[in-house]
């Protein structure tokens, strides 16, 4: 079977949705020449009315997408740098997200905010390395962090078809992941449904985005000692609490690997929900970025604030041996 990279899966999902639904259009900075490669070939195929290069005006083109969506279009905005979401936070969280409720259900705002290259890319330093998915989950904006090429395709497709605003974070560390796939078998993946990548009996590891691959490596590494189940929520908001409950019911132990900051991060929410709802055999453990992280430049310093396999393995052992 042919190989498909995560990045190419995003590109394929955009092309398929543009072809399927004339209301879909793509806009953003440098999307015509596809600086990120995610929009490669789309301008040639669909033309200037469907693929719009925008000026460096994040607030305006994000609000523009809301207006177009209110008028029946399905915009997909590509943000090449995660920190640009901070500039457009008002337009996403305070406008697009609030329109449905504030208008008493008159409005639909089907905008997709696609962020390829979120999280640490070694050497990109403080303002290019954030991974702000927890902010959007906290605000109630549908928030997706795919881990694999087939999920990148399937979740981006569902995000575009969803009638609400959805932010899709494609982690930088996952963009080069490749999978041996039947391309014809690519299909939408529903938002809010997690995936067990590896079954296990002793510890459930919840891993978000690229950390799924680290969790799978750790599970393999510990296979003789600890049987690790790897649960990927895929959508951090809404979160598949029932799927996680099933997994924890089997293992009784919980570790969370989350590439957001510790305070008010996704791991914090998983642990809080576990305390309310799950019957655990041992205290849960989380592996996250430190509180209030600003990613430092030097590669060794950058790595020091990322959740890594060594810390995850230690967390699994701690939960198991408690």
């Amino acid at each position: 079977m042919p190989w498909l990279s995560y990045r190419k899966a995003l590109n394929r999902a955009l092309g398929d949705e543009l072809a399927r639904d004339p209301a879909v259009f793509v806009l953003g900075e440098d999307v015509r020449v596809a600086v990120s490669n995610v929009t490669a070939g789309l301008f040639t195929r669909f033309g200037p009315d469907r693929v719009l290069d925008t000026p460096l005006s994040e607030q305006a083109f994000t609000g523009f997408a809301t207006g177009a969506a209110l008028s029946g279009r399905r915009p997909v905005i590509e943000f090449q740098i995660p920190a640009l979401l901070y500039l457009a936070f008002e337009q996403i969280v305070d406008q697009a997200h609030k329109f449905s409720l504030m208008t008493g259900g008159q409005a639909r705002v089907p905008v997709t905010y696609l962020v390829p290259g979120s999280g640490s890319k070694a050497g990109w330093a403080g303002q290019h390395s954030d991974h702000p998915y927890a902010l959007f989950a906290h605000a109630g904006v549908k928030t997706v962090v795919p881990a694999t090429p087939e999920d990148a395709y399937g979740l981006l497709t569902s995000a575009i078809r969803d009638d609400d605003p959805v932010v899709v974070f494609a982690p930088a560390a996952a963009l080069e992941v490749r999978a041996d796939l039947d391309h014809d078998g690519l299909a939408p993946v529903p938002l809010g449904v997690g995936r067990v990548h590896r079954e296990g009996e002793d510890v459930t590891v919840v891993a978000v985005g690229h950390l799924v691959h680290d969790a799978l490596a750790v599970a393999e590494e510990l296979a003789g000692d600890v049987s690790v189940e790897v649960f990927d929520p895929r959508t951090v908001y809404p979160f598949d609490w029932d799927g996680l409950a099933d997994s924890v019911a089997r293992t009784g132990r919980l570790v969370v690997a989350d590439d957001s900051n510790r305070t008010c991060g996704i791991a914090a929410e998983v642990l809080a929900t576990a305390a309310e709802r799950f019957d655990l055999l041992a205290p849960p453990v989380r592996v996250t970025r430190p509180d209030g992280t600003v990613v430092p430049f030097a590669p060794a310093l950058d790595r020091a604030v990322q959740p890594d396999r060594a810390r995850l393995a230690a967390a699994v052992r701690k939960a198991f041996e408690h």
Binding site: Q59, F64, G72, S100, T103, G140
Partner: protein, 326 residues
């Protein structure tokens, strides 16, 4: 309709309706029936009346936190707008939006917006979508003088000019951004903001509905013909407080002489002078009766069910987890 909104009688009817609506709304704030207060549009009625008279039902508008006038002039039912202010289930937004978010998508009213300047970009997107559909619909963004210092509005003007979008930017320069004067806030001129992007920009008397209508019609015609956006700065005066809390807060930033002079040029009087006494009386009686019925409708309407407080949060019907506690 009995009165076309662009006739002298029609313009009078609109300014009269807005004026009386605001007076009744302020009474309901004082009686406690409208919680949270309102930003009265009193004094600025000529702008909403003149601009909306140049529009068709299928054109769209976006509005400000001082939005009642725009919404009414575009054709929203005064009874349902008042019910919305009173937080009733029958309100335009089912009691979920209140004064600052009134919307009626069926009439092209994409919502009043409580973040100053934010609606400019939304309008640009709506105008682009309208053009993609074909036809010659236009989109109007109302905003105040305070908004001309918001980056997002200037970014939106750039997009609208660059892509020749059928947008009418209508600045209601009432002299104050809450309490800050234009002189203390705006470097350069407001029309200069538009001119910098190559947008035809004019300043007109915003107290006279006919003058506003003429300027709006010229801009709308240009937009319909593919001529791109325009900026119309309407010089106006806010007769009342920025917000109804102002009287309680006892803030002072306008002296009595200024307010008295400002109120001398009253859009209702200016437009009323173009009608016979008999015509005025007929319109006044009709508007009074409309508002009497609107107040009764609003106050007789049921309050929304608290169990549905977060209904409509997601267009897909997704239900959020409750806040917990048991």
């Amino acid at each position: 309709m009995a009165h076309a909104p662009d006739t002298d009688v029609g313009l009078y009817r609109t300014v009269r309706l807005i004026r009386l609506f605001e007076e009744r709304a302020v009474e309901l704030v004082r009686s406690g029936d409208v919680v949270g207060g309102i930003h009265p549009y009193t004094g600025q009625e000529a702008i909403a009346a003149g601009v909306c008279a140049a529009l068709r039902v299928d054109d769209v508008i976006t509005s400000t936190h001082r939005g009642h006038g725009h919404v009414l002039a575009k054709g929203a039912d005064p009874a349902r707008v008042l019910a919305e202010l009173a937080g009733r289930a029958t309100g335009l937004n089912r009691g979920r939006g209140g004064s600052m978010h009134a919307a009626d998508f069926g009439l092209g009213i994409l919502g009043a917006n409580a973040i100053v300047g934010a609606n400019g970009a939304i309008t640009a997107g709506a105008a682009w979508a309208a053009r993609q559909e074909g036809g010659d619909r236009v989109a109007v963004s109302f905003f105040g003088d305070g908004a001309v210092n918001q980056g997002v509005l200037l970014e939106a003007m750039n997009l609208a000019a660059l892509w020749r979008l059928p947008v009418l930017f209508v600045c209601e320069n009432n002299g104050y951004a809450t309490t800050l004067t234009v002189a203390d806030a705006v470097a350069g001129t407001i029309t200069g903001r538009g001119e910098a992007f190559g947008i035809p920009s004019v300043t007109v008397d915003g107290m006279d509905p006919r003058t506003v209508l003429d300027a709006a019609r010229e801009a709308v015609d240009r937009a319909r013909a593919g001529g791109g956006p325009s900026l119309v700065e309407c010089l106006t005066y806010r007769f009342d407080a920025h917000h109804t809390w102002e009287h309680r807060a006892r803030v002072r930033y306008r002296d009595d002489d200024e307010v008295r002079t400002g109120r001398e040029r009253d859009p209702v009087v200016i437009q009323g002078a173009r009608l016979t006494g008999e015509e005025r009386e007929r319109v006044d009686a009709e508007v009074r009766s409309t508002l009497d019925a609107a107040v009764a409708f609003a106050l007789d309407s049921p309050h929304p069910d608290p169990a549905g407080a977060l209904d409509h949060l997601y267009a897909t019907g997704m239900r959020p987890r409750p806040g917990g506690g048991g």
